[in-house]
Amino acid sequence: MSALAALIRRDIRIALRAGGGALIGVLFFLTVTVLMPFAVGPDLALLSRLGPAILWLGALLASLLTLDRLFTADHEDGSLDLIVMSRTPLELACAAKALAHWIAAGLPLIVATPVLGLLLNLDGTATLAVAATLLAGTPALTFTGMIGAALAVTLHRGGLLLAVLVLPLSIPVLIFGVAASQAAISGPLPFGTPFSILCALSLACLVIGPFAAAASLRHGLD
C-alpha cells in the first residue's frame, strides 16, 4: 500500500508544480464555457437549457487535454520500465496513476462548476445537479481515457490518437451525465434513474480501465 501511496503523492505533486498541467485543464474548461454565451447569443432561456451540456462537453475536453501525459512522461524518462518491473502489480499502479490524475485534474473542474454555472444562467439546483453528475462521471472519463493513454504510449503524437480512441468510449457517460442533469432541472424523468446508470458506468470503468491499460502497457513496451 505504501508503494501506491507514494505513486499517488508523486503524481499529484508533479501535477501541481509549475508546468505540471493540472491548472491547464481548469483554464481550458473556463475558456470553453466563457466562449459559449458569446457564440449562442444573449438568450438566457436557451443558455440555461444548453448549460448542462456545455459544462459536460467542456469537462470532457478538459480532462482529455491533460490525459495524454499520463504515461508518456513516465515512458520518456524510463520511470515506466521501473514501474513495470516493480513488486506492485501493474494494474494497481495504473489505477493509482489514474486516481492521482483525477484528484489533480478532475476535482478542480468540479470545484469550478458552480462559478461557471453562473455564466450559463443556471440556478442553484441546476448547478448542484451538474456538479454531482460530474463528480460521479469524471472518474469514468479518466479511467477510460487511461486505456487510450496506455495505447498511445509508444506512438509519437499519441495525444491526437488518444482523443480519437477515447471520445467514442465516453459517449455513454456524456449521455447519462447530461440526462441526469436535465432530469434534475426540468424533469420529467426522476434524477435517480440516469444518475444510477452514470454511477454504474463509473464503477465498471474503475474495474476495466486498470486491467486494459496494464495489458496494453505490457505489450507496448519495447
Binding site: 508546468g19 513495470v84 506492485t88
Partner: protein
C-alpha cells in the same frame, strides 16, 4: 544464488538481434557484456529485466526469493534516468525507495554515498548528466535487490564518480549480489566477459 539464461534469442522489429546465447552468473560474480554498438547488449539486459520477451529460451534465478520473479529482485539502471525534473533530488530518491519497497535504507545516507547530499533540495532539472547518473546509482543503494542490471553504468561519470561506483559494486558483490553490466569501458572490478556480436 545463480542467474542463468539458456539458448536466448531476441527479435526486434523483425530483425534477429542475437540467438543461442547462454549466460550464467553466480552470487558474488559480475558479468561484463561487451560488443560493438548494435550487438544487442541493451536488448539482453532488457530481456533479463523482463521488459522484452525473448523469442526463444529461458531465464532462471536459482536460490533467490521463490515468491518473487527475477525482475522483482533486480535493479535496472538504463540509459534513461527515471528522474522527474519537477521534484527535488531527495523527493526523487525517496519516491523510488517507497515505491520499490522491500529492504530499504535511509535516503540521506544513500545520497551521501554518491556525494550528492549538498544537492538534496535542488530540483532534479538543474542536475548535470553526471549528477543525474549519481542519483540513479543512489536508487540502487536505497533498496536492496540482489541482481543489478546495469547499462553503461559509468557513462557521464567523472573519475571520482567512477572510482566511487567501483567501490559500490565491490560492496554489492561482497554482500552476495550479482551484476550484469553492458559496457564499453573496463568495469574496474573482476568480471567475466560475455562477448556479443561478431560471432553471429
Amino acid at each position: 544464488m545463480r542467474l542463468s539464461g539458456r539458448n536466448l534469442k531476441c527479435v526486434r522489429g523483425g530483425r534477429e538481434v542475437f540467438s543461442s546465447l547462454d549466460l550464467s552468473a553466480a552470487a558474488g560474480e559480475a558479468l561484463a557484456v561487451t560488443g560493438p554498438n548494435g550487438a544487442g547488449k541493451t536488448s539482453l539486459l532488457r530481456v533479463l529485466a523482463g521488459l522484452l520477451v525473448p523469442a526463444e529460451g529461458s531465464i532462471a534465478l536459482e536460490g533467490g526469493d521463490a515468491e518473487l520473479s527475477l525482475p522483482e529482485q533486480a535493479h535496472y539502471l538504463g540509459h534513461r534516468d527515471a528522474l522527474k525534473p519537477a521534484l527535488s533530488v531527495a523527493e526523487n530518491l525517496s519516491f523510488w525507495r517507497d515505491f520499490l519497497g522491500g529492504e530499504t535504507r535511509d535516503a540521506a545516507q544513500c545520497l551521501a554515498a554518491v556525494a550528492l547530499e549538498h544537492a538534496a533540495h535542488l530540483p532534479a532539472a538543474y542536475l548535470s548528466a553526471g549528477q543525474r547518473r549519481r542519483l540513479s546509482i543512489a536508487r540502487l543503494l536505497s533498496v536492496r535487490r540482489p541482481v543489478w542490471l546495469l547499462d553503461e553504468p559509468t557513462s557521464a561519470l567523472d573519475a571520482a564518480g567512477q572510482a566511487l561506483f567501483v567501490a559500490l559494486m565491490r560492496d554489492h558483490l561482497a554482500s552476495g549480489g550479482l551484476i550484469v553490466a553492458a559496457t564499453h569501458l573496463p568495469l574496474g572490478i573482476d568480471a567475466r566477459d560475455l562477448r556479443m556480436g561478431g560471432a553471429a
